[in-house]
Amino acid sequence: MSILALVLSGAGLVAAGMRDRASDGIERGFRAAMAIALGIGAWAASYAAWRMAFGTPGAAKDVLLAVAGAAALAAFRRRQPASPQAREPAPRWLYVVFAAACAVAAAAFIEHTVRFPDGGWDAWMIWNLRARFLARTADLRSAFSPAMAFLAHQDYPWLLPAAVAQAFSIFGESRIVPAAIAVIFGALAIAVVTLGVARAQGARWGLLGGLAVVTLPCFATFASNQQSDVPLAVYFAIAAGLMTSAKSRSELALAGFSAGLGMWTKNEGALYAACLGIAWIWRTRDLRGAVAFAVGTLPCAALLAWFKLGLAPPNDLTAFSTRATIVENALDWHRWAELLVLTARRVVYFQDFGLWVLAAMLLLWFLRKSPGSVLGTAVLLAVAAYGPIYALQPHRLDWIFRTSADRILTQLWPVAVLATMPALARTTART
């Protein structure tokens, strides 16, 4: 029943949001990837809402979710087919390169999972720890007990732990469960970017976009780490992909729902949802569209507010900050200079990024006079927001930057690729 609830709710959401029928295989693939991601998100978010409202859910929660999904599918079944688009095909050798890159990433994923059977440090310290609490006890408060050390980050939203905890209850508490969920989100990240670019620019650009994600050296590692960064990247990328191609307010609402699932995945998700909303208003001046996007975020925004106000202890960044430390950090020019140096060094951090981020910086310079896009603006806003976040937070700057910068890049990278490929396609089409 859980799998049925997941599939039907995802398919129902996509049917409700996309008012035309998919016209070809690329569009069907993109929608299928979206349906799986949104289905997992809806399944996990409904679990959290049920637990906070009524306690541990039985089969009733999944029955309701499946019925709601089936009802949406039935209600929106008579859709007009979208007009078929002529898309640039890709050469056969590019498919071979893409398949080889996916095979390399898959092998790296397996190697890393075998070497680190409990995932990355944050996986067992935060995400799977929370999943174990959720799966092992009906006492929800113990999972977020302030009696644990702050490094367990009891204030973090719990989409991923809820998905893992529910899978534990179906398949048993095995280390394979979070690893399998990590595989799914890793594959979804590649699929959403590849197909998201391909549906707009054709298969050639889609495969190049997918290559940019799957061969980012830290991508396979972070996917196998079983942390929330890749799931957040998936929801942010779905929201971004929908916003660039939205033909109706319902698609913008669906983008908002995906951004909301990002908010329920990690605290940074709220920042990215805000950046998408602001960038949309800035670049399109379409306030009604922005309202539709905001309405889409509401279910998960409400869930997040419910959790933060009712259950979560304060975030360590706020708990350890005082007005005096914030002012002191803001006026400390050494701290800002250190941040600039750390950022500049990270751009050329070959171990985790290869040459991708350096190439993206060069491309940004080359395209600096191109008209601004919603996604480019959203990514730049998010990057700019991290300046004051890093400078004002209370921890040692070098430590928090070292432990978080690569994860933030992993969250943003798929959307940066979605933002870049149309500009590249346009530029090369003119020459």
Binding site: L94, V97, A100, A101, V104, A105, A107, A108, E111, H112, V114, R115, F116, P117, D118, W124, M125, N128, L129, R132, F133, R136, T137, D139, S142, A143, S145, A147, M148, A149, F150, L151, A152, R175, R204, L208, L211, A212, T215, L216, P217, A220, T221, D316, F320, F350, Q351, G354, L355, W356, A359, F366, H395, R396, W399, L424, T427, T428, A429, T431
Partner: protein, 136 residues
């Protein structure tokens, strides 16, 4: 920029990325990073002794619990790993007055010292350097 050049540059960047991934995971890590044993292996037996509620936690190595303390220390790792395995038991760090207390030691020979210093008596020795105790 021509489409051909862009395509060539992106494939070259992808090739560099693939080589880096292969080097890290199949050359560097096998040489330099030992394969981790599952965290459950060390702590699983304690779960049977403390199934639920709260327990104290003491150690011979400090864990980071406040701002400014280094969170990457072995003591922090030991505490958080014990918490990971023992969930849903909440481990109260440095609390030796709880009805049951996990004693988790980096140096197993310090068990008698720690028990005496913290006013504890042994309930069960579970693993080398890992015991359950209670206040005397």
């Amino acid at each position: 920029m021509s489409a051909g050049r862009v395509k060539g540059a992106m494939v070259a960047l992808a090739a560099v990325g693939m080589l880096r991934i292969l080097w890290l995971h199949f050359v560097s890590e096998p040489r330099n990073e030992a394969r981790r044993t599952p965290i459950d292996d060390r702590y699983a037996a304690v779960r049977a002794l403390i199934p639920a509620g709260e327990a104290g936690y003491v150690s011979d190595l400090p864990a980071a619990t406040r701002l400014g303390q280094d969170p990457a220390t072995p003591g922090t790792r030991m505490y958080l790993q014990a918490q990971y395995v023992l969930a849903p038991v909440v481990l109260r760090y440095d609390d030796a007055r709880a009805p049951l207390v996990i004693v988790n030691l980096h140096d197993p020979s310090r068990l008698p010292d720690i028990l005496q210093q913290r006013g504890l008596e042994l309930v069960a020795q579970v693993e080398t350097g890992l015991a359950v105790a209670r206040p005397r």
